[in-house]
Structure formats: C-alpha cells, structure tokens
Amino acid sequence: MSADFSTQNLDGHAFRLADSLLRANGGTTAYLQMPATPGDASDAGQLGLDAPNFQPLPLSPVAFRRTRATMTEGEPARYELIVSGSAVSAAVGAMQVASADLLFQMAAGVAIANELFLIEAVSLSECQGAVYVYRLLLRESASGWQMQTTQD
C-alpha cells in the first residue's frame, strides 16, 4: 500500500483558468429553475393545481453548445452546458443544500436565453479534489415556453 504524501498547495488556479476560458468562449448566464422556499406543502401543490413558482438561480460563467450536428426526427436536440465550479459552489452555499448533485436534482430545468432545457445528466472535472467545472447534458424542452429570467 502506498499513498501520495507530497505537499500540494490549493491555489485555485484551476477555478480561475476554467472561469476565464468559459468567459472567453462565449460565456453567458444560465438560470436553474429552483423550487420556491418555503415549498408548497398543500395537497393542491402535490396534485399540479398550484403554480410551483420556480425561482431562477443564476449561474455564470457558463458555455452552452449543441452536442451534435445531426438531428433525429421526434427527438429533442441535445446540448451541453459547461458550468463554472466556483459558480456552482456559490449557488450551493446560497441555496444551503448539501451538494451540487442535490442542487441539480432539485432544479426543474435550466433557462438559457429564455429557452427551457431539461437536465439529463451531470458530470464533473476536478483538480486537487476541488470541482472546477461541471458538464450538464441538456435536452430541449418540448414545451417551447419562453422563460423569464431576472435579466429581462
């Protein structure tokens, strides 16, 4: 058995590099659709009668791109959202949730440029144990709703 006991100073270079690359590559803002707090505990809230009043939670910088050029009939297009680890870390703190996984699970979708997308999968990259970038696989929402964001 062996372990790496070498000294590794956490200096946040991966975070700064990721943020600057995201900004330089069309960095924009995405809005997670988060449940309102306090939540609706009524029967009507669980039966689809009450409006859920999702609140937009901004994440920035992010880069947004289509994952493939070809389209399949009847299948919504897939996109990839690359999100800054520092933005997610700040959002986790602001929402007071235990982890980024939980944050993405709680989100009812992501609004980007007033379009709604559904989160299909989440992966991440880390450096020295700190996640500096998250990759979200998104699918275009079939609803076609125009989403309002706080910037509008």
Partner: protein
C-alpha cells in the same frame, strides 16, 4: 376523472404515512411521504430511489351503465439501491419492504372520491375502487433494483364532473 386520480394519490400518500412514517423524501423544498404523481412534478431523467411514483397510462370508459364508469391504469414504479450502512447489499430486502408497504397501502381497495380543487377538499357522492396490484418482475440496472406494480382504478363519473 381527475378527481379519481387525485383521490387515489392522496389516499395512498396518507396510508404510506401510517404504514412507514420514515419513508419520506424532500421534493421542491418540502419533506413529504415518499410517493409522487409523475405528471404533477418536474420531469426528471431518472425516477427517484426509495419512493413510489404513480404513472397514469390507459383510460377507458364503460357507457352501458346508468353512470359512466371510468377505468384507468396506474403504474406504480419504485426502486432502491439499498442502504449506505449495508453498502447496498440489502437492496433486495429493501425492495421487498417496498413491495410489502405497497400491498398495505392498497388495502382496503376503495375510498370515497374527493374533489381537491376546492379548499377544503369536498367529499363526493361515490367511491373509487381498484383491483389487486399486478407485480412485474424485478428489474435490475447496476446497483438499482426496481419494480412496477399495475393497478386498475375505477370511478363513476358524477353529475357535473369533468
């Protein structure tokens, strides 16, 4: 027939809170019994673990009776990965526990139909009733084991009811 669907869900939710008060989940910022109606929640790529998910599928009517009898199929999906303490090796036992809870929730197999669009909910004039659950074979995907139970739910359409 929305009243019948609403009544079925609320009835099972209340019974689950009695059968196993510890089976809870946090959804949209609220801690509630671990059961939900799929079409009344935000879409998710994967169904939650350790919770019952109601999915309404078929719908048919029998119009040969004095009142129209609606006949709806409800699929109840549930899955588990076991517990962290047992490193998931108890997932078979955990699934069996959910099977047992579901059987208890479905018994007795009728309840008074309610109208939840009003506050407080109003009692209606007929009952809804349902068949015994038909359990599908266990479905295993990596550490996740799950099952689908299918229940036929019946309700009479009352005067003025949509």
């Amino acid at each position: 027939m929305q009243n019948a669907k609403d009544t079925f869900y609320i009835s099972l939710r209340s019974r689950l809170a009695t059968v196993n008060p510890e089976r809870t989940m946090t959804l949209r910022g609220v801690v509630r019994p671990g059961i939900l109606v799929e079409e009344a929640e935000a879409p998710a790529a994967q169904l939650p673990l350790d919770a019952f998910v109601l999915r309404w599928t078929k719908f048919a009517t029998d119009e040969q009776l004095p009142s129209i009898l609606a006949h709806m199929t409800c699929e109840i999906h549930y899955a588990t990965a076991g517990t962290q303490n047992n490193a998931g090796l108890d997932r078979g036992r955990a699934l069996e526990e959910m099977d047992d809870e579901l059987l208890q929730m479905l018994c007795p197999s009728s309840t008074v139909k309610m109208n939840y669009t009003q506050t407080p909910a109003a009692q209606m004039g007929t009952n809804i009733f349902w068949s015994q659950a038909v359990f599908a074979p266990e479905n295993t995907t990596r550490e996740r084991v799950g099952r689908v139970a299918t229940v036929e739910v019946f309700a009479f359409q009352e005067q003025g009811e949509q």
